[in-house]
Amino acid sequence: MRTDASCTSKFLPVSWARLKTDYHSLSYIANLDPAYIYALFQRASFLQVSVLRYAIWKHIAFQTSIRVKIPVSTECLIKLLESIFFSPIIRLQCVLGQVISNLPIGITSSLFRLEARQSSERIEMRTAKSMDRSVVPTTRSSPVSRSEIRHASIAHFTCPVRA
């Protein structure tokens, strides 16, 4: 097993700040055997164990598979919203937002609730509930704005695709 950790290459067109924070490691193993597997599990962090076990099982069994898992964390969601917010589609929506904002807020939130029902992910349901005006106390100091609802519904549509 050879591990090639990322290093500071003089040919690399990246800033020093990036070199300090970025990290990637490549491990290439030809003809995997029990000793390698044992070494891998000794070295890997506990977060990687389940992924590695699955991959090694598929590899040993000569099975073809492709699996992508992107957990939806708060950080991911924020990044997702940022990336969506600066996309041309959202700019277009902002232009057309006048039409949406003219709708009564009850209609927008009920539409969103209807869409959220189709999803089984709890996080999205929670988002939908928090966006629903009916469950928000009337004494709330900062009421949910229409723009928030729009962003939340966009996240709802996009998350399953990314996941």
Binding site: S9, H24, L32, V51, H59
Partner: protein, 95 residues
Amino acid sequence: MHQSHISLVLYGLSDRRWVAYAFDKNTFDDKDLEDEIYSYEKFHEDPIAKVDADLPIWDPREYFLLIFKTRMCQVLKEWRNLIRWIERSVDGYVR
């Protein structure tokens, strides 16, 4: 014909910190990997993506797609060679 199989795992906590594991299984390639990686020549090949290891690809998605493309091209090439070999054998047998 030989059987060959490659598996790739990319795991990361973010786009900028990630780890790649590649498992390669073949019964015909006897090249000395150690000599390949740690040779003192100028070009150090990344054995997974078959690119220059001194110019790493930082984006994991881009890296995955590059490996996918490289390995698919490799599979295609091997299948073409096999088909050509079978065609030649059939032609030789028929004549």
